[in-house]
């Protein structure tokens, strides 16, 4: 079962910030500065948390993971977007 998450972070050190950004690229789509939209099964959420916990400084940094519920079967109503639209990412095999 996949769920949609919004992950935002505030990292105090530029080196750690880059690492967190690179790690987050592996789990979700980069929508805004320090904001990722992730459509993940439970197992990958744990992998993501494990990777982040290892990276950040627990005294200075802050990562917020917001769970928006299951992706399948119903539209995500908790998001209202002004300006540019919010798109849910389609999953399909990539051919380049």
């Amino acid at each position: 079962m996949r769920r949609l998450y919004i992950v935002t972070y505030d990292i105090c050190d530029p080196k750690r910030l880059r690492r967190v950004f690179k790690t987050m690229k592996g789990f979700g789509a980069h929508v805004q500065l320090s904001v990722f939209q992730c459509d993940l099964p439970e197992i990958d959420v744990i992998k993501m948390k494990a990777a982040l916990v290892e990276l950040i400084n627990h005294q200075e940094d802050h990562v917020l993971i917001v769970d928006l519920g299951p992706t399948e079967g119903r539209p995500i109503k908790s998001i209202e977007s002004l300006g540019k639209g919010f798109t849910q990412v389609e999953r399909q095999a990539q051919v380049v």
Binding site: K22, F27, I43
Partner: protein, 570 residues
């Protein structure tokens, strides 16, 4: 108290030391222990990943002096030692203990568990108690006094004290003996029946408890009865393949992603957690870092010519399940076994061809359908593989003679006229598409068989063709019409591939890069399509069905189920 366990003769010399963790699995489910210990199967689930995450502190190698130097010398020193690795030759056990605490020579093992403390008697399930007790016994054999230990539940941050009383010690010894007996007997224990333990077991996809349990019974042909089966397989596949066919492109690893670049231009980025397979057409480069990462994650890399011919495969280490391959080699020597299996596969293929014709042909001639039905019966009575090959050939010609009728008259331009099957090289666009689709399916099956631990090159029906993935070709037969032919029909009838997408060279026909890209997308859509499993009655994608069929085939070879359930749709 320590002498009682000490007198029991359990000495094992020939067999490897039994990890105490395995004892936990054995107490949970003997089949799970057999799969992990004897067949070396392993798969991650939410629980194992989370467990590893919580264990990361205790698994770090000890930074302080090892236990032996510290404790016995000075009886007053407190012991607090992480990740202690000890063995007992007498019990034939080896244990990695998360934490050992104590004073002097009196110690207690502490085992970290994910999740919350279960509200059951003694505060823990039996498998955990037994595991802890075995750790205690190993400590005793190494000269410590140990009458109890603790289970620490990370989820609720609770410590549960476990006393090693006589009953628990007896039970532990009994389980050690049971596990040894099981490993020595070489027979895999049957799956649990409708057990609540199965849905959260990490090996459920490998074990297939409900499916195997059902197929072992006599009613294997009554499809209705199975529709009540639990669906233990995940509904959707979380990972998808990545195809790279741009000549000169390079695939690199970038953090947790794969990056496809051409000179300085980024063509695509794919998250590693979402990639199931990397397929490279022609001259595409991969960095060593990417290869290593993919091997580590057990994601295979396939190399194909720019036309789609399958050259080879990079995987991590070979699958550890030797027992399965040994059975496969033995079975391939048995002529009667080969014939029985082959005729079943050919029957399923003819049945599926007939279904595809009935479904897609605007006016399928009744005589052809009848002929195919007769071929199907003949295939069941064939006396040799040669005879079977003849029957299959005849049925194939009948089927392809009607193939044109399944292409939409208005949608398909005259370029898509189809007279009959030809190949090496294909002489018209439809044959070119069919050849590519079969090549893709062969690759898919080769990779799947490799991944479940079978040898794709040793077949049962395709014995005569050397140097080809014979087992992949065998098991693929029944899926040719369902997947490959159906994809070709969809691509042409929906106009996804058009007459302009082909290059003609001296009588042979090939696809352009752009045409192939669209065709691969059609193919992948088909593979993701969910259909009702004809035997088990739940909905799964074709991608997952290939894996299930491969695993069931393995179970058939190991003698767990009486027949290979071939795949036919209605």
């Amino acid at each position: 108290m320590s002498e009682e366990a000490g007198d029991t003769p359990l000495s094992v010399t020939e067999e490897p030391l039994l990890p105490v963790r395995m004892l936990n699995e054995f107490a949970y489910c003997p089949r799970l222990a057999y799969l992990e210990w004897v067949q070396s199967e392993f798969a991650d689930s939410v629980d194992t990943v989370e467990g590893r995450f919580h264990h990361r502190r205790v698994d770090e190698s000890p930074k302080r002096q090892p236990l032996e130097d510290e404790a016995p010398a000075d009886t007053e020193t407190g012991i607090h030692q992480r990740s202690v690795w000890l063995s007992s030759e007498r019990l034939g056990l080896t244990a990695k203990i998360d934490l050992v605490e104590g004073v002097g020579t009196t110690v207690a093992p502490v085992d970290y568990k994910r999740g919350k403390r279960p509200h059951v008697g003694k505060g823990a399930w039996e498998p955990e108690q037994v595991q802890l007790c075995a750790q205690g016994l190993v400590l005793r054999d190494n000269g410590y006094e140990c009458d109890g230990g603790f289970l620490y539940f990370v989820g609720s941050r609770e410590r549960v004290a476990i006393t090693f009383d006589q009953a628990l010690i007896d039970r532990t010894l009994e389980l050690i003996a049971g596990m040894r007996g099981m490993a020595r007997s070489g027979a895999v224990p049957p799956p649990l029946v409708d057990s609540p333990k199965c849905p959260r077991c990490s090996l459920v996809r490998i074990c297939l408890p409900d499916e195997i349990g059902w197929l072992r019974q006599e009613h294997a042909d009554d499809a209705q009865a199975a529709s009540t089966l639990r669906r233990l397989l995940p509904a959707r596949d979380d990972a998808l393949p990545l195809y790279v066919q741009q000549p000169g492109a390079r695939v690199k690893k970038d953090g947790e992603c794969l990056k496809v670049v051409d000179h300085d231009e980024v063509l695509a980025e794919a998250r590693l957690v979402e990639v199931s397979h990397l397929v490279l057409f022609g001259y595409v480069q991969v960095s060593t870092q990417a290869v290593q990462e993919l091997c580590k994650r057990e994601i295979p890399i396939s190399y194909l010519s720019s036309g789609g011919w399958f050259y080879g495969l990079t995987t991590g280490l070979m699958h550890k399940n030797v027992e399965l391959r040994r059975r496969q080699y033995a079975a391939a020597m048995d002529q009667r076994f080969c014939l029985r299996l082959a005729s079943r596969l050919v029957q399923a293929k003819i049945a599926n061809c007939r279904t595809i014709l009935r479904r897609n042909h605007m006016a399928a001639p009744a005589t052809v359908l009848q002929d195919l039905k007769r071929d199907l019966q003949h295939a069941g009575q064939a006396q040799s593989l040669e005879e079977l090959l003849g029957i299959e050939g005849t049925a194939g010609r009948r089927y392809f003679a009607e193939f044109r009728g399944m292409l939409k008259a208005d949608g398909a331009p005259p370029e898509f006229d189809f007279e009959g099957r030809n190949r090496r090289p294909p002489k018209d666009p439809v044959n070119a598409l069919l050849s590519l689709a079969y090549a893709m399916l062969t690759r898919e099956w080769t990779v799947t068989l490799h991944a479940v631990g079978l040898d794709p090159f040793l077949g049962f029906y395709h014995q005569s063709r050397y140097g080809r993935p014979a087992l992949a070709l065998d098991l693929m037969e029944e899926f040719r019409p369902l997947i490959a032919d159906s994809v070709v029909l969809t691509a042409i009838n929906n106009g996804e591939v058009q007459a302009t997408d082909f290059i003609r060279r001296m009588g042979s026909v090939a696809l352009t890069t752009e045409g192939r890209r669209r065709f691969i997308e059609t193919y992948e859509r088909r593979m993701s399509q969910e259909i009702t499993h004809p035997v088990f009655g739940y909905q799964v994608s074709y991608r997952r069905i290939l894996e299930v069929q491969a695993r069931l085939f393995g179970r058939y070879l190991l003698g767990e189920i009486p027949n290979y359930p071939s795949f036919t749709t209605r």
